[in-house]
């Protein structure tokens, strides 16, 4: 099970090379996303996961905890 991280850890991990992935629909990503994040909506994750580097940490996020 993925470990939960907070905002500061996100910033540090991204600085250290982690991949930041927004899983919301692409329209929401287009409006606002965290700096450096890429868009891989949950519904398309199966097809697009190959674009991620399995050798680097991956951080996923959406809107909030809901």
């Amino acid at each position: 099970m993925a470990r939960l991280i907070d905002r500061e850890t996100v910033r540090q991990m991204v600085k250290d090379g982690a991949q930041l992935v927004e899983v919301l629909p692409k329209e929401e990503y287009a409006e606002d996303h965290l700096p450096g994040a890429v868009s891989h909506p949950l519904k398309q994750l199966d097809e697009e996961a190959g674009e991620l580097d399995p050798n680097r940490p991956v951080i996923v996020y959406c809107w909030d905890s809901a």
Binding site: M1, I5, D6, R7
Partner: protein, 168 residues
């Protein structure tokens, strides 16, 4: 959504997956920068007026009214020592007995809005709820400014509606 995405990535063979569960809302609420189309239009915090008349709970209405009148505004925000919003003095309250303390006449617990809300959504909300203005605060309640409906409508005229609604 993020928990399911994290779980799916793990089943696909990714063994170093983390989840930022507080998500984009937490990031925005912290005032951190984002990228995207919303950066091309003002947000509630940008458009709010910062030269707001503020007062403490024990301030007298007459003194507050004097400052508001001199500034050409018809409202004041009641705050604590850390500028946390406690109440509002609208024109109706400012016209009351000048010797009354703000605490006795303020409208407590006003609805507040976050600085990151896009101006189009704010304008629509103020029109829909027939509010002439609204206090803009950080997520811990500290006053950023007051957004006037007239300002919001003017700035929203060239803004597009957003997919994600940010007023909760």
């Amino acid at each position: 959504m993020a928990p399911r995405a994290a779980a799916r990535l793990e089943t696909l063979g990714f063994d170093n997956v983390r989840e930022y569960r507080a998500g984009k809302l937490d990031w925005l609420a912290a005032g951190l920068p984002t990228e995207g189309e919303n950066n091309n239009c003002p947000r509630a915090g940008d458009a709010s007026r910062k030269d707001v008349i503020v007062c403490g709970l024990k301030d007298r209405i007459g003194e507050v009214r004097g400052r508001a009148t001199a500034a050409g505004v018809d409202l004041a925000v009641v705050v604590d020592d850390e500028r946390v919003v406690l109440g509002m003095l609208w024109s109706k309250q400012l016209e009351l007995d000048p010797d009354l303390m703000a605490e006795k006449v303020m409208r407590p617990g006003p609805s507040t809005y976050r600085p990151y809300v896009p101006i189009k959504e704010m304008a629509d909300h103020l029109v829909e709820h027939d509010h002439d203005s609204a206090p803009i605060t950080t997520s811990d309640g500290k006053l950023v400014g007051v957004l006037y409906k007239s300002d919001a409508i003017r700035l929203a005229a060239s803004a597009t509606a957003c997919v994600r609604k940010m007023i909760t």
